[in-house]
Symmetry: C2
Subunit: 180 residues, 2 copies
């Protein structure tokens, strides 16, 4: 019973995550985002035409995590509820190391960015983006930045790139919530 | 209060996961492993010398998830407790699609394999591997298979490839539990 209660308290702490802001309006990095629900990862993804310059560099992994409450809501409805928090974690890659001979595996943290849905705080579209780097909080990315227009125009579901999250893409198809 | 209780019950269900077996000894795929803790992913990783043949094929993503109770134990001790369940999910990759111009993102499921630590059931090393394919349960991989000797010889911590899980690698370094 004690164990169950301890698990409950821990679970509630982990699962009740809503976006937290500092007094100056910075978004606070969710302390346990690595225990949130993993949506997918990419390697070397780019939305710009590839050039010799960006092909030469060492590609980065991009891991996406979402708060568990929003995830479960998406499974039921195919939509994101208010207070959704999506954490994009960008990590360096390595290729030959230990017994690995080819391909890529993940290494140190490069930076973190966060997308939140908070309709009271961001009435324009409900969504906002924050650049955290490696810090414990980060500033709002200005509304004129490409991320806002790109997510609005190309996000398969409500400003998010569900087209790159295979398990949620299946849910959105089933629920009929994909952008026409 | 109701919401907290519902979250508790859900959380307990998610977090109390231990390996489950059928009467014939097959391992049952954990129903909610996609809500377990993500350790890392690789793309096109191979432990064999690369050849023209394996470089030509479309690379696969390999996502690794662990049951939350085992994860929290590892954070505290740098070791895996009994009843650890590691799920390896292999997914196909795609490269040009939607607005993505280069690199790779994850697509449909290829197959699943599971490594479990259950010292009562598998007294030899404590660990066993199961091949599930796309099924809801799967057979024990014979002890003579390469995965057993390779994990035993090269796993950075106790039969597991912690060297490829950057957040746990840092924990194992700090706790002094890395293979010498």
């Amino acid at each position: 019973m004690r164990v169950i209660l301890a698990l409950c308290m821990l679970a509630a702490a982990l699962m009740a995550q809503e976006p937290q802001f500092t007094n100056s309006g910075e978004l606070v990095l969710p302390a346990h985002y690595r225990e949130w629900v993993f949506l997918s990862s990419g390697l070397g993804m780019t939305y710009q035409p590839s050039t010799a310059a960006n092909q030469d560099r060492s590609p980065s992994f991009t891991n996406v995590f979402v708060n568990p409450a929003a995830y479960r809501s998406f499974l039921e409805t195919g939509k994101w509820p208010d207070q959704t928090v999506l954490v994009l974690e960008v990590r360096f890659s390595e290729t030959k190391g230990s017994i690995n001979k080819d391909g890529h595996y993940q290494a140190g943290l490069d930076h973190v960015a966060v997308e939140v849905k908070d309709t009271a705080r961001f009435p324009a579209s409900g969504w906002a983006f924050f650049a955290l780097g490696k810090a414990s909080s980060g500033k709002l990315i200005p509304r004129t930045a490409d991320c806002y227009s790109c997510h609005a125009e190309h996000g398969a579901v409500d400003n998010t790139f569900v087209q790159f999250y295979p398990t949620l893409l299946a849910v959105a198809r089933q629920k009929g919530t994909l952008r026409p």
